[in-house]
């Protein structure tokens, strides 16, 4: 039997091919097939080259007995002008090609054969790095896969139709429209026939319809009224919404169709045949649009047809595929409840509205979207991290910031000039809501928590993460000691070193280590880390003060702060990336994330992650308002020295920092008893040899952040309290310490076989 070819119907291309790249490709094709190519006229400024390609077929016969042959005729279509920027399209040249059973074919249009969908994604981009020979190989592999059954990559799922030639688009949530069919979420105006309200967006050119609501038994009248209200507005009124009633038709459960080829209807007559093929009852729909055509103000309206497929559609939640059409119906097209003219039908492309879930999927990060988070600080750093989270679907955010957008903020903030004067948290929340216009997001905002609310446990009861981007040391102190956050995971991020060092503290499990522990820990690393040492020393110079509480951190809320937006973005994107990882999988230990920008001869960025074990915590025996927090490892060290000394007393000096704001003493290290110390079973005299030098080194390397804070000694046989002699020393120390500005508490711990007993005076 002579095979019928589509190319037989094409005429020879009468002109010359002038495109030199195309000439080259045709020569390559000729080399490939070992013969001259026939150049046919495809129309629309394209030429068609029919060739035959070889296909390797599997030994046991083709998948589902598909009629794929060892030699398959295809047509390669080149755009005469725009080739090779436009990739060639490839069509089967066999009229009886088994197109109905294959996915990855475009639905045929305009009496042309179906085209192969040979690239997932953009064929033009793919072709930019390929040669014409590669297309031939690819099509041959495509056919081989079709024959082996490997073409449908998603296993048991059904590939949706591939359509082209759209004249507009329609935006709705697949699952919402699905609910009309599966759970009767809308009123049925006829058998398997419901109505949906769409709004046409004010765009020039293509028609774009946006889903508004399903028409239900309850809202029918109010909706009609609502639509009428809009209709009454003058056409010049910018607030006037263009409402269109659209229709959904679907078929009976059990009417499965696995054939791919639907001749997508292009006219009313084709539409009826289409409905008959898919067992869709269109009579009631016809009667409705013919008799109630006044319902729609406009001649255009969308129609959605639901077809049941044998298995779930790839990328969707059910086996129902929606074909989206646009009708154009004039009053002259209807008579006696019938559509009398063969009106034209167009194809609309469906767009899924963005949901947080979809955003999360697209951004490739699995984070728990049910998390609820409170964010303090919507400034430069905060706004950027917040938007990173929001764009990846995390919208359960309560944004807190009392500040207003000032013009100079626009240099480093995500918001734009039209927001100047607005509250930062409010403006940001509004922007997030606009990303997901179809969704009820949980984003909240406010200038601050109402009085006292921040201290209430209930406020943070349902909160997972508390994020601090305020760059405020005062707020940092507040957070560190805030009891109401006990069930939360706390993060604080800020930038320092003139904007070149980004620091993010992430607390450990059960808030240990805490953010203030992490801060002290980071400072203590200056002994071994040259970068940290330099940074802290620079900070001290900049603060030009010997005061212990020098400001570490750079505020951006001033016009005088010189810092570029790209540096802020670099820190923010690093923090956000690290934060999202933590949100997906919480690390039990504390973490310090550092992002260092080296703005030197070359501009470079380096990062560092430091894991921090929980601190050992105590209360002062004599004054429980003081918390004492030991960097992990120190207690073990003391215990060891205690046991080594045996029956003799021993002792040493603590370094760390006091914080009057949080009533916390942080101990970062213990200096062993100097060599001139003396001891017996009941006495310990701490010597002084080399001690001052050691402490001065520590003080200098940490830029004054860490220094001498107290002492310890042992009572090998008890008691667990201070002796008379101990108290005399305390008094002596106190005398000196209280005269300092600010005064230094006297911190003395004793270690006995029963444990450690810290005292603060």
């Amino acid at each position: 039997m002579e095979m019928e070819k589509f190319s037989d119907s094409l005429t020879i291309f009468a002109n010359d091919v002038e495109n030199p790249v195309l000439q080259d490709s045709l020569k390559s094709l000729e080399r490939l097939i070992g013969d001259k190519v026939r150049i046919l006229d495809w129309g629309n400024g394209c030429i068609a080259i029919p060739i035959e390609i070889n296909v390797d077929l599997p030994s046991l016969g083709n998948f589902e007995n598909l009629d794929i042959r060892e030699a398959e005729p295809i047509i390669i279509v080149f755009d005469l002008i725009n080739y090779p920027v436009l990739a060639p399209r490839v069509y089967t040249d066999r009229i009886n090609f088994p197109k109905n059973n294959l996915a990855h074919l475009y639905v045929a249009v305009n009496n042309r054969p179906p085209a192969f969908c040979y690239v997932r994604g953009n064929a033009d981009e793919w072709y930019a790095n390929k040669r014409i020979e590669d297309i031939v190989i690819r099509i041959s592999n495509w056919l081989r896969d079709a024959a082996t059954g490997d073409l449908t990559e998603n296993g048991e799922q059904y590939e949706p139709l591939r359509l082209e030639g759209y004249s507009g688009s329609i935006i709705y949530d697949y699952d919402t429209i699905l609910s009309v069919i599966t759970s009767k979420a809308a009123f049925e105006f006829g058998d398997k026939f419901s109505i949906v309200l769409f709004e046409r967006l004010n765009l020039t050119g293509r028609h774009t319809y946006k889903f508004v609501k399903l028409i239900t038994h309850k809202n029918t009248l109010t909706t009609i009224k609502e639509v009428d209200e809009e209709r009454k507005k003058g056409t010049e009124d910018v607030t006037r919404k263009k409402y269109h009633f659209g229709y959904i038709l679907w078929n009976e459960e059990g009417d499965l169709k696995s054939e791919y080829e639907v001749n997508i209807p292009r006219s009313w007559e084709e539409f009826k045949l289409f409905c008959e093929f898919y067992c869709i009852n269109y009579e009631e729909f016809e009667k409705f649009i013919a008799t109630c055509n006044e319902l729609n103000e406009y001649v255009y309206f969308p129609v959605i047809i639901g077809i049941r497929r044998p298995s779930q559609l790839i990328g969707y939640s059910s086996n129902i595929e929606f074909i989206n059409l646009q009708f154009k119906l004039d009053s002259g097209d209807v008579k006696d409840g019938k559509v009398v003219n063969n009106i034209s039908v167009d194809l609309l492309s469906h767009n899924q509205p963005l949901t947080p879930k979809l955003a999360s999927h697209i951004s490739g990060r699995r984070i728990d979207l049910d998390n609820s988070n409170v964010v303090f600080g919507c400034g430069a750093i905060g706004s950027k991290i917040i938007m990173h989270l929001a764009r990846s679907g995390q919208t359960n955010l309560t944004l807190i910031d009392p500040d207003y957008i000032s013009p100079h903020n626009l240099v480093r903030h995500v918001l734009y000039g039209d927001e100047v004067g607005k509250n930062k948290a409010e403006a940001l929340a509004e922007k997030i809501r606009m990303i997901y216009p179809f969704e009820q997001t949980n984003v909240l905002n406010g200038p601050s928590f109402k009085k006292g609310l921040i201290d209430k446990k209930e406020t943070f009861e349902k909160c997972d993460w508390v994020l601090d981007f305020t760059a405020s040391e005062a707020f940092f102190n507040k957070l560190a000691a805030l009891k109401s956050l006990d069930g939360c995971k706390v993060v604080s991020a800020s930038i320092s070193d003139f904007g070149n060092l980004g620091i993010m503290y992430k607390e450990g499990e059960d808030r240990n280590p805490r953010i203030d522990d992490l801060q002290v820990y980071l400072y203590s690393l200056s002994a071994s880390d040259e970068n940290i040492k330099n940074w802290l020393q620079n900070e001290r110079l900049a603060a030009s003060s010997n005061n212990l509480t020098i400001q570490v951190g750079v505020g951006c809320n001033s016009e005088t702060t010189i810092l570029s937006d790209d540096k802020i973005s670099s820190h923010a994107s690093y923090f956000s990336g690290a934060l999202k990882k933590e949100m997906a999988k919480f690390s039990i230990k504390g973490r310090i994330y550092l992002n260092r920008i080296l703005d030197e001869e070359d501009y470079r960025i380096e990062t560092k992650v430091i894991s921090v074990n929980p601190f050992d915590t105590f209360k002062a025996v004599n004054d429980s308002k003081w918390s004492i927090r030991f960097k992990s490892g120190i207690i073990e060290q003391l215990t060891k020295e205690f046991s080594v000394a045996g029956k003799s007393e021993t002792g040493g000096v603590f370094v760390g920092v006091f914080n009057y704001k949080t009533n916390t003493i942080h101990i970062t290290d213990s200096i062993k008893a100097p060599i001139d110390s003396k001891s017996s079973s009941t006495l310990f005299i701490r010597g002084q040899s080399g001690l001052s030098k050691k402490i001065s080194e520590i003080e200098s390397s940490t830029g004054g952040q860490i220094g001498y804070i107290g002492e310890w000694h042992t009572h090998p046989d008890g008691p667990n309290f201070l002796s008379q002699q101990d108290m005399t020393s305390v008094k002596k120390h106190k005398e000196e310490c209280s005269k300092l500005q600010p005064p230094l508490p006297v911190f003395l711990s004793i270690i006995t076989p029963d444990g450690i007993f810290p005292h603060v005076f």
Binding site: S59, I137, T148, G149
Partner: protein, 388 residues
């Protein structure tokens, strides 16, 4: 998309080297005949193996090595290319040398009795090292590189205490290198007990391990996607017994094949005794074995080019008998199948749920650059006519 399993027959002249690769990247090497590649006309099997096998900590390894029997053309290169000895002692310099670790050896005691070459000796020694570990119940005995499976029956040496490591004819093996395979299994046909009594020069040949490799693409699949028969150098008497026993135990499914590696490099010995001139009629049983072919089945002749001469193997008359069964197009000779610039290339089949098919063609790209291995890079190029 999941990767398909594949079977690769290397072009090694008269000899066998076949690599089975499963979906999970498990590799099973059946025999090896790794020759020198100095002559520019020999395919570099070792290089391809190093590209095809898996690595752990930089150590290349095959999951299973099946030596069908110890003839030189089935184990050539074992000593120089595969790692022997305690796996924990594999060194950095071993890595540089590209020694391939054999995680699990398949070892047939019967075929290992008569050593004829140093590669076979090396295989035997390595097997004995492993067997000793198992016998001593060494804690390292189950580490990759120490694993071993005994195939068939004992010869002179007695391994009865290691029966838990043994698979016998009629067994179906589904566990490879300490890992259960859902989609792949091996049915063992030979060597069987009768071989012990066999006599004559061809004893080693007739006592080859013979097995059917069985592939599926989904666990719920009823029939197999591909069946590949491997038989070393087994002769017609072996196949006669295989046929008889397999039918007797109602295991006909184990006789079917899509790919048949013609025994002994397309030798006449599969059809009848040699020389063919004296025994020109193929045994009925051998022909019956071939009749278990499935649709579009293929015979692979891993041999030199088959000419119409007196050579054996490969034997021209043997080829004619095969072609009668599968047609000329389905008779593939490793030396002539696909030759690129004088170098024969491996025959590769991929397993799809519709049976075996040639692998996909590889696309090129619009951007190219030469590699350091280019001939022009490695030879001087002379320009102009002047003297240096």
């Amino acid at each position: 998309m999941a990767k398909n399993a594949s079977i690769k027959y290397y072009p090694v002249g008269n000899g066998d080297s076949s690599l089975i690769s499963l979906e999970d990247n498990t590799t099973i090497l059946v025999d090896c005949n790794i020759r020198n590649c100095d002559d520019n006309e020999t395919y570099d099997v070792k290089k391809d193996l190093l590209r095809s096998v898996q690595y752990t900590n930089g150590i290349p390894y095959v999951d299973v090595f099946i030596l069908t029997h110890g003839d030189q053309d089935h184990c050539r290169g074992f000593k120089n290319h595969f790692y022997q000895g305690a796996p924990e002692k594999y060194s950095e310099s071993d890595k540089k040398e590209g020694f391939i670790r054999v995680d699990t050896m398949w070892f047939s005691p019967m075929i290992a009795e008569e050593h004829s070459n140093e590669d076979e000796d090396a295989y035997q020694q390595e097997a004995e090292r492993r067997l000793t570990l198992h016998r001593k119940n060494d804690p390292k005995k189950n580490n990759p590189g120490n694993r071993i499976k005994i195939i068939g029956y004992d010869g002179k040496a007695n391994y009865k205490d290691l029966d838990h490591l043994r698979a016998k004819p009629g067994d179906i093996v589904t566990r490879f290198n300490d890992r259960d395979q859902e989609l792949f299994s091996i049915f063992i046909h030979a060597p069987f007990k009768e071989h012990l009594e066999a006599l004559g020069d061809d004893k080693k040949n007739s006592t080859s391990i013979v097995f059917q490799a069985r592939f599926k693409n989904a666990s719920y699949q009823q029939d197999f996607s591909a069946l590949a028969m491997f038989g070393g150098d087994s002769d017609h008497t072996s196949w006669c017994i295989i046929l008889e026993k397999t039918k007797k135990y109602k295991n006909e499914h184990a006789l079917k094949w899509d790919l048949f590696l013609s025994p002994h490099h397309c030798s006449w010995s599969f059809f009848n005794d040699r020389p063919q001139e004296e025994n020109p009629t193929p045994k009925k049983t051998s022909l019956e074995v071939l009749d278990y072919k499935r649709n579009n089945a293929k015979v692979i002749a891993s041999s030199k080019k088959i000419l119409n001469d007196d050579d054996n193997p490969p034997h021209y008359e043997a080829k004619r008998e095969y072609v009668k069964k599968v047609t000329e197009g389905n008779f593939l000779n490793t030396t002539t199948y696909n030759v690129i610039s004088k170098i024969p290339q491996p025959i590769v089949f991929e397993v799809t749920s519709q049976g075996i098919v040639k692998p996909k063609q590889t696309e090129g790209a619009a951007k190219v650059a030469g590699s350091a291995g280019l001939g022009i890079v490695n030879t001087p190029s002379k320009y102009g006519n002047g003297k240096v």
